[in-house]
Structure formats: C-alpha cells, structure tokens
Subunit: 148 residues, 2 copies
DNA sequence: TTTACTGCAAATTCTTTGCAACAAC
DNA sequence: GTTGTTGCAAAGAATTTGCAGTAAA
C-alpha cells in the first residue's frame, strides 16, 4: 500500500470521529510509517527531538500511539519486559515474532498452518479470537554462534 | 507431583545456592502452590496481608517471585498490559493461554502440533528457543453468549 | 467560535533498590 | 559469627492525567 493511500486513510479516520489532524499527529504518523522496524514510545520521542519538524511532546507521543493503535494503524507488542514496542500494521501482513534475548533483535515469522490450528482450537472452546500474540524468546542465529 | 515433593525440591534449590529458607519464603511458596489460578504480585501481597502467617512485605513478595521464576518453579506472563501474572509450573505441564478481554478469565490450552511447527520454524532460522508465549485474546464462550 | 489538542509538570502504577536491623545456618 | 534476608521508604521506569493555553475546523 502506498504511503499516500495510508495517509488518506488516516485523515478519513480522524474526520469520521471529528478528531483533528494536527501537525504533531501528521508528523508522528509519517515517522511511524517511514520505519519498518519495531520501536518504543521513548525511541519515537527521541526521533521527534532529533529530527526536524513541529515540536512534539512526550505526552503527545503516547497519546498519538494510543490513537494509532485504536485505529489499527499500528500494533503494540510486549517484547519481553518493561516497555511496549510498536510496529505499523496497515499495509503489512500479520506475522509473529522471535525475540533474541541476547541482542534484542526481533525477527518476524509466519506459519499459516499454525494460524489454522489456533483458530480450530479457539472454535472448539467457543472462544472468539480478536487478536493473538505468538512470541518465541531465545537466541538468534548470530548470537547462538557467538555464545558457542 | 505432591506438594511435599515440590517443597523438598525448593529446599534443595535453596541449599545448593546457599540461600536461606525463611518463614517468608516458605509462606509465599506454599501459597503459590496452593492456587492453580494466575495471580499478580499485588494479588499475592493482598493474600499475605489478609491471611494468617509470618509478615511479608511487598518487597519480599517481588523478590521471592523473582527467585521462584529463576528457579523455574513459577512462570510469568504478560496478560495484556500493565502487570505481570504468575502461575506455578512445577508439576504442571506447559500450556498456552486464551485471555478473555471481557471478563479477564484465562483459559489454558495446548496443541502439540503447534509446538512442533514452532520448533521447526525456529530451527529453520537457526533460532534457539528458550521459552515462548502464545496467547489468544478475545471473547470466551460465556461472554460471547452475553454479548450476542 | 467551538471543541479538540498540546505541553508541562505532577501524578500513577508497577517494580526495584539502598540500607540498617535481623535471623538462618 | 557470617552472610543472606527482611522491611521500609525512597527511587525508578514507563505511562497517564489535569489544566490552562493554543489552534483546527
């Protein structure tokens, strides 16, 4: 999906709810969709301070991340402990994560067969899935090599 | 596994590391293994205040939960947001979770085929799994019925 | 103009820590 | 006795919130 298309989607989302498109929101939105990595609120706030553009406070960073998550433009995940980590989802297929506990690297992976078994298990219990988090924690290839 | 056996295992674990079996540790350990539900640090601390036994401070609750998690007597999981939730694992087979976002209920489930596919995916990427978290969030059968 | 948004700083929430008194071993 | 443990209160880290000023629509 093109950046412009996604941006129009965001504008529409705001309009439908009588929310305002402020310079801060536009700047955060663009920054979030400019990266394909996972980032924390604090990281995003650092970008806002280091890079040029309208001033954005820490509070606005948190509030806008909430807004984007509610609108399903981004998704948050708990990569272990402490802070939440975000990634944009619109125009980006669903995937699961492997988190390296040594270097912090997050790899994406996906297995359609697992998704199917998971739906089946939920259905059997009358459970309606809204979303899911499937995360493997361990050591990535390069860290495993180093560790021996 | 019998409570007494598990308790001996804990004593051994402490002895091997020159750690001490204090009344606080014993009390927390027993309480944790007396419940099969998931609980937060704050909940456990509330039990410590409400029920009879040696006084246990909040700090000791946190420190002992850490200790038990390191020893793999219990496991922590992030049931959504905010606080960590614990459950005892010794004498309790591995399982995944379905968390109802309406009532907070946590159901346990397990599918050996998913575990196998997951190991396979990790192996393919040279990733060594230490642990994993697989959580479905949504609506449980009874809440789904109420909501219509 | 109206109503939402922002920045700021203070407040919250969960968890960790420094330290002196205490108690297993 | 030694050395690990506890309780307390203060510190931390991440996130939220109240409020008065600001600015989209």
């Amino acid at each position: 999906m093109k950046q412009a298309t996604i941006e129009r989607r965001f504008e529409q989302y705001l309009r439908e709810r009588s929310l305002r498109l402020t310079p801060q929101r536009r700047r955060i939105f663009e920054r979030v969709f400019a990266t394909h990595d996972h980032f924390s609120a604090e990281t995003l706030y650092a970008w806002m301070r280091e890079e040029d553009g309208p001033k954005v406070s820490r509070a606005t960073v948190y509030r806008t991340l909430d807004l984007l998550a509610k609108g399903e433009f981004i998704e948050s995940l708990d990569a272990g402990r402490g802070e939440l980590v975000y990634e944009h989802t619109l125009g980006h297929a669903h995937h699961d994560h492997m988190v390296c506990t040594a270097c912090g690297r997050i790899e994406e992976w996906h297995d359609e067969r697992i998704e199917a078994l998971q739906s089946e298990a939920a259905k059997r219990r009358g459970f309606v899935i809204e979303r899911h988090e499937h995360r493997l924690m361990g050591t990535c290839r390069s860290c495993a090599r180093k560790e021996g």
